[in-house]
Amino acid sequence: MSQTYTPVERTATGKKLAGPVGWLDERLGLAGPAKKNLRKVFPEHWSFMLGEVALWSFVVLLITGVFLTLWFDPSMAETTYTGSYRPLNGVEMSVAYASSLDISFDIRGGLLLRQMHHWAAHLFIAAMFVHMLRVFFTGAYRKPRELNWLIGLGLLMLGILGGFSGYSLPDDLLSGTGLRIADGMIKSIPLIGTHVSFFLFGGEFPGDQIIGRLYMVHILLIPALLLGLIAAHMLLLVYHKHTQFPGPGRTNENVVGYPALPVYIAKAGGFFFIVFGVIASMAALFTVNAVWIYGPYNPAEVTAGSQPDWYMGFAEGALRIFPPLEWSWFGSTWAMSVFIPGLGFLGLLFVALGVWPFIERAITRDEREHHLLERPRNNPTRTGLGVAGMTWFGLLWIGGGNDVIALKFGLDLNAITWFLRVGIFVGPVIAFIVTRRICISLQRKDNEVLTHGYETGVIDRSPDGGYSERHAALPIEKQYAVTSAKERPKAIEAPELVDENGVDAPRSRRERLRHRMRRFYYFGSGAVDKPTAEDMAHAEEHLRGSNEHPIELGEDFQGVSETGVPRVH
């Protein structure tokens, strides 16, 4: 706390540090960059932790993965199991599956490692998804962060591939079925699919190559790419400085928070142990991917209710609900009912996410840098599109479990499939319209609270017997946070489609399209304008009157809860 003005070289710590810092700096010259970054400021908000969950889960994946490689043997050679799991004693299986069983039953702590690794993978991908939604809905991907958004998409894609290649390695019945489906998807690629499949599997499915090849992809290729992209992601984060939510003292030109050294490093570092600890506890308490129950892979067997890990669920759902569609053309077969949902939908999702920041910028032509996050309600179109996308994803996800849903809820499987076939078109549209309306209503609500105060829960009785609820003005910090967060809508001018001679202006078609897109995009942002300074002055005058009532509310008063108890903060 106490501020000293002794030069740092003369303090006790300074004397100790001078040696090592000098030694390093004379060789690395890092004092320059370190000066800028050691006390770098990071803003705080719970939603900024989501990306951290992903980062730390990845570190846990690396640690547990290194341990697992010590015992896992990715060979597809046939062997007879003689380990300590009795139900499979004497069963023919691949060495990969046998070594997965050994890790689970004969290596002490091996089961814990396997389950930690698998839970960490779930958490890694889930955290990436949620982090991405946070970035999308708050507009954090806007200039100058578009490239980091693309890097993030790359990370998500690699994470999903890492997950798929990883859960295929134990060569159990469930993962083998997953590979069988992947093989079917690859074979459906027009013209070259069969060759690609034969090259990947080293011949006919299942062959004796695929596990070894996936192992290389899983432990070398994907982690190396992930590490590189994570490094780029973090470097850009440091360079751009983290975005922040609007609030008192927080502007587009500054960043308010705690310094990296020591507070933020301690918090983020401590959070690593929390994530690690949660994963270890989950591995202790909840079984994940119990490969010993499924048995070794056998292409003639399958269990009902076979499902991939959840992040592949939407692609699985797409495969399930797509209607039969296939045509033949000069000896080639175009299995569209496999290719479109299996590979096309995945591509569609990532392409749509990848181009969105650029489409948005083409519409707004906004050249400014954005470091303040937008509240989702203040951009109804973007929020609506996001929720529409989530609805689409969610419906496909339901499709991925349609058999289980039919069973558990006693529904007709075919009816669910038909519902989803229609639903993936209608659902997102409804979700979009409803979300946009909700956003607009929330903006109106904001304005109402700003200009008429919030409901205190205090009922006044007037001398003539009437009752009314007292309203009070929001604290000035909140008023500022709400109003400064919102931009005033720009007037949308009709494009000039003809020049002064009445001739169609060049690029008039493009301008017309852009005009239409702008009207679509700004719908709702313009419907509710935030109050003006005059409105707020009015409001202040109006609400000031409430102080004339006999009961003083006091400075700490925060309203009354539904049970009539005054709220305290």
Partner: protein, 359 residues
């Protein structure tokens, strides 16, 4: 460190920035006793974490790997004592370390918020021009623009560098050839039970029953008692040759033209491999004669030549013509006349070739 903010109102904003809220002191900042207490709490967390980690090591060496805990009344279920103890000691220790560090940061470390100014991502105009000048000088001095011959031949050579990398992939696997056209089924090969390997008589299959079958060759041995096929050859062959036998009342079956004699007393044999993406199909609805794939719910009507009646599969389920050999066992009349398994990129070509062979 803290900078005084200019209190400005951007044009049109109704409320002026009130600036950062006043700093709130924590109990630990003002009360030395509270500070000491927090210090002790955090140190206790680290201490307990150390004990838990030692406990992890003790558990590793003392707990029997097969020991179960929480076994229910029926004597089934139960959790691995080893996994439970190792996981909770490790998890507990990590959570305590993490909580301790975060408590330290939140309650004891300096908590003054700091304001840092941002700078536009772009560099200064001078830097930019300097870079452009440098690039320009590089282009000029290298003459890359003026010497298209060198540039283009180099680009060509670099492009050709990709060729070895692609060509090297050739030996990843054999070419498909016509491998997907045929299965191991041969005329006269017995259909055997997929678990026991026993041949099947028509009388072994009851009406409404489904039997999982395999070609007899998977269970055959040579003179020295070695299996004829083993290891991956069996798995690869199985991925195409697995079949199901179903028996329906003959009057329920509506065979297509030319398939009237493919069954034996209402017993029909179909490929078990789904024509969608190749899952083994096994869900048999006895009453409706429907066979449902558990992976993507393609549904085939086995009384109607394996026709697709629901789901994403496009091609009907291939049927294996059946007969009975002199000993009274079910045998295949030929290989599948239709290609089995998932559709692939030149299935149509193979199917035409197969039609010619069969004819």
């Amino acid at each position: 460190m803290t900078q005084e903010l200019e209190k400005t109102t951007p044009a049109g904003d109704p409320i002026a920035d009130p600036g950062l809220p006043e700093h709130q002191y924590r109990p630990q900042d003002v009360d030395p006793a509270q500070e000491k207490r927090t210090e002790r709490q955090i140190a206790t967390m680290f201490g307990v974490a150390t004990l838990l980690l030692l406990g992890f090591c003790v558990a590793y060496f003392t707990i029997d790997q097969d020991a179960l805990i929480f076994v229910n009344g029926a004597g089934t279920g139960g959790w691995s004592a080893m996994n439970f103890t190792l996981g909770l000691t490790l998890g507990g220790a990590l959570l305590l370390i993490g909580t301790g560090i975060i408590q330290w940061a939140k309650k004891l470390m300096g908590d003054h918020e700091i304001i840092e100014m941002r700078h536009p991502a772009r560099s200064s105009e001078e830097d930019r021009s300097a870079v452009m000048a440098d690039i320009n000088a590089g282009i000029e001095e290298s003459g890359i623009g003026r010497r298209p011959l060198i540039r283009n031949s180099l680009l060509g050579a670099l492009g050709a560098m990709g060729l070895p990398a692609i060509v090297m992939l050739r030996d990843l696997g054999p070419l498909p050839g016509d491998k997907l056209m045929h299965t191991v089924w041969k005329p006269g090969m017995r259909v055997v039970n997929d678990v026991s390997g026993q041949p099947i008589r028509p009388s072994d299959v009851e009406v409404g029953q489904l039997v999982n079958g395999q070609p007899a060759i998977f269970f055959e041995t040579d003179d020295e008692g070695h299996a004829v096929m083993h290891g991956h050859d069996v798995l690869n062959a199985k991925a195409k040759a697995a079949v199901i036998l179903v028996r329906m009342r003959p009057e329920d079956i509506t065979p297509a033209e030319g398939r009237e004699n493919w069954g034996v007393d209402g017993i029909l044999c179909y490929s078990k491999i789904c024509t969608h993406v190749g899952c083994p199909i096994s869900l048999w609805e006895q009453q409706t004669h429907h066979l449902l794939c558990p992976c993507h719910q393609s549904t085939f009507d086995l009384a109607d030549n394996g026709k697709v009646i629901f789901g994403p599969a496009y091609r009907p389920l291939p049927q294996l013509p059946l007969a009975v050999d002199e000993e009274g066992y079910l045998v295949a009349v030929s290989d599948f006349p239709e290609i089995v398994g998932p559709s692939y990129s030149f299935l149509d070509r193979d199917q035409k070739k197969l039609d010619e062979e069969m004819a």
